[in-house]
């Protein structure tokens, strides 16, 4: 072949979702080009905005049919789960289809510790719930992580169901009736005295919007920090705080030796072994860390508003949604995974009016994504780079140009 044919770069037409990826790259590049101080400032502003979001109740975004604070809580819970599952699927490349099992273990540990068996306060039960889930992750991982790929997916799928069915049959865990009256976390500030004193340290009014004109809403206030059945916003704050901590930890681990070992194992397990990476150990670590974060999220879920969990709270479908969140967002990129979790939890609530068509639309959206952007909305930049090269090579090979 002449040099002219090999050097021609194939024109790869970009679809809207791929353009979104390029736009995101641009945003990241511009952010990275900023001086350190401005970056810090931007991060602080963004975090503050996230905390304030349910109070601001911005039009369009706000769900009017259903309590916006509650929606934000479940969005944050999903984003946190996606962040945990991203370690397992995105970093270590282990397809875990039974993640809801860990979510359930976290929730049930909290439920058991804080109700009629022991009556522990929530914040004491939380770390133990995380630890128990982590140990569960190791117990499940030790025998199963020796199988690879599809086999692992099937084993984990079974695990999710086993947990649910076991709980359903153990009286001590409430069986099918579940555990109710799981206490809320202790109020920080003055204890609320119903019916007139809402308690807390101080009250924060919400905003209300008249078209695009905001005004203070004195009727709806959030009491800082009262965790109760009425207002989900303090829960949301609690969860957001946990998420930020997890995010910081995630960054540290990903950039460390452990993160590189995961990446090598994901890309080529045999080659990783040849480099001296004890892949089993690192896979187990990813499994345990992912499980711990799932347990953390489950623990919050158990003590949230309703204070009620039952085996029906942890269906197989939830596992699928968790995986969907990570894949949709872009597995391997923590921001992608969180975006995926946010979308999967938020969109159905926002469009509740079309509730009958929810699953249909969700399925369609997944199909479109699979066709246009199988690597997810915001995959890690290196995945996208590799895909682009792959497409170009395919195109060259299709034209019969052999490159060597």
């Amino acid at each position: 072949m002449s040099a002219a044919t090999t050097e021609r770069t194939p024109a790869v037409a970009l679809n809207p979702l791929q353009r979104l990826g390029l736009w995101w790259d641009g945003v990241v590049d511009r952010y990275n080009a900023l001086p350190k101080l401005s970056r810090l400032l931007l991060v602080i502003l963004f975090v503050l905005f996230c905390y304030a979001l349910p109070l601001l109740r911005p039009p369009i975004i706000t769900t009017n049919a259903i309590d916006f604070g509650g929606v934000m809580f479940s969005v944050a819970a999903f984003a946190l789960v996606a962040l945990g599952l991203n370690i397992v699927i995105g970093y270590a490349g282990l397809l875990d289809l039974g993640y809801v099992g860990f979510y359930a273990v976290g929730a049930y540990t909290t439920g058991v510790l804080t109700t009629y068996h022991w009556h522990w306060p929530f914040f004491l039960a939380l770390p133990l719930a995380i630890a128990v889930t982590m140990v569960t992750g190791v117990i499940l991982g030790a025998p199963t992580l020796r199988v690879r790929g599809d086999y692992l997916a099937i084993v984990t799928l079974g695990f999710g169901e086993i947990i649910r069915i076991c709980v359903n049959n153990v009286q001590w865990l409430g069986a099918s009736a579940g555990i109710k009256d799981i206490p809320h976390p202790n109020t920080i500030g003055k204890k609320p005295v119903p019916p007139f004193d809402p308690g807390g340290m101080f009250a924060i009014p919400h905003l209300k919007w008249n078209g695009w004109v905001p005004s203070l809403d004195k009727v709806h206030e959030t009491h800082f920090l009262v965790f109760g059945a009425v207002d989900a916003i303090p829960y949301y704050w609690l969860l957001l705080t946990a998420m930020i901590l997890v995010l910081l930890g995630d960054r540290l681990v990903k950039a460390s030796r452990v993160g590189r070992a995961w990446e090598a194992t994901r890309e080529d397990e045999d080659a990783a072994e040849l480099m001296g990476v004890p892949t089993f150990k690192y896979k187990l670590m990813a499994f345990a860390l992912g499980a711990a974060i799932g347990g953390l999220s489950g623990s919050f879920y158990a003590s949230s508003q309703g204070g009620y969990i039952s085996p029906d709270s942890f269906p197989l479908l939830l596992s699928m949604l968790f995986v969907a969140a990570v894949i949709v967002g872009g597995s391997g990129n923590r921001w992608g995974a969180m975006a995926g979790g946010t979308l999967v939890a938020y969109l159905p609530e926002r469009f509740r009016a079309f509730a009958d068509y929810r699953l249909l639309v969700f399925g369609l959206a997944l199909t479109v994504l699979a066709v246009w952007r199988p690597e997810g909305l915001l995959p890690p930049r290196r995945t996208r780079r590799a895909k682009l090269v792959e497409a170009q090579i395919d195109e060259l090979e299709g034209e019969g140009v052999v490159d060597e």
Partner: protein, 239 residues
């Protein structure tokens, strides 16, 4: 003997992949295993690196029995492999790949590490040019260089090379073999598995021919390349 393999048997299920394989590699030499597809060459190397379980027999490295040692312990002892089909990490850059090669080294911030990196770049100047490029986007020859360079970053005493010439253009094959010779001269013992028997025999101090999982001939590289039956079977010589 740096490496001693004695009566090695490895199975895949009920199928015997290699049977009673015995050979040794003297320190400072180049040894080669040649043979056709499916003769058990790759299985032998994978077993030496600890990726395959041994059914019977023993492997000793520098006098130590490593028959059942896990792969990372063998890397620590000084066995490093460049796998068949290159096995670079495609999403990682060249530098990151080389860094993975040094995964178990504790001196990754030291001058010695920099020196080793420079040594790899001296051997393969192309890698220096492509330092920040994703390995998956490089040509086959470049990936082969990277795989060898990455194995060297572990500071091996014994370098295992699995078909470094596979899928490469003749000119590149020549170049790769010259570099293997250079690596050996710098003091690293090399065990080379090849289908390209002509090149391998030319470089090797000792050679072994594998046929359906068994060693059928052993000798010096020169001896075997002069042998008529070997010529007929592996070198495509005149019949």
């Amino acid at each position: 003997m740096l490496l001693e393999v004695e009566g090695l048997c490895v199975n895949y299920g009920h199928i015997e992949a290699i049977r009673d394989v015995t050979f040794g590699v003297e320190e400072g030499t180049v040894a080669t295993l040649i043979g056709a597809n499916g003769a058990g060459k790759t299985t032998t190397l994978k077993t030496l690196s600890g990726l395959r379980k041994v059914r019977a027999g023993a492997v000793r490295f520098d006098g130590k029995d490593i028959t059942h040692a896990p792969p990372y312990q063998r890397v620590l002892l000084g066995i490093s492999q460049s796998p068949e089909g290159r096995g670079c990490f495609p999403g990682m850059t060249v530098l990151e790949n080389l860094d993975m090669g040094a995964f178990l080294r504790k001196d990754r911030k030291s001058a010695a590490y920099r020196a080793d990196l420079d040594r790899v770049f001296d051997l393969f100047p192309r890698l220096k040019e492509r330092e920040r490029q994703a390995a998956g986007s490089m040509s086959g020859g470049e990936q082969q260089m990277l795989a060898i360079g990455r194995a060297l970053m572990a500071k091996p005493r014994l370098l295992l090379l699995d078909e470094p010439s596979m899928g490469l253009a003749p000119k590149l094959i020549q170049q790769i073999f010259t570099i293997i010779g250079e690596i050996n001269q710098q003091g690293t013992t090399v065990l080379l598995v090849e289908q390209n028997a002509a090149q391998a025999l030319k470089r090797a101090d000792t050679a072994h021919i594998l046929e359906t999982g068994e060693i059928v001939r052993s000798g010096s590289g020169r001896e075997l390349s002069g042998d008529d039956s070997v010529k007929a079977a592996y070198l495509g010589g005149d019949l």
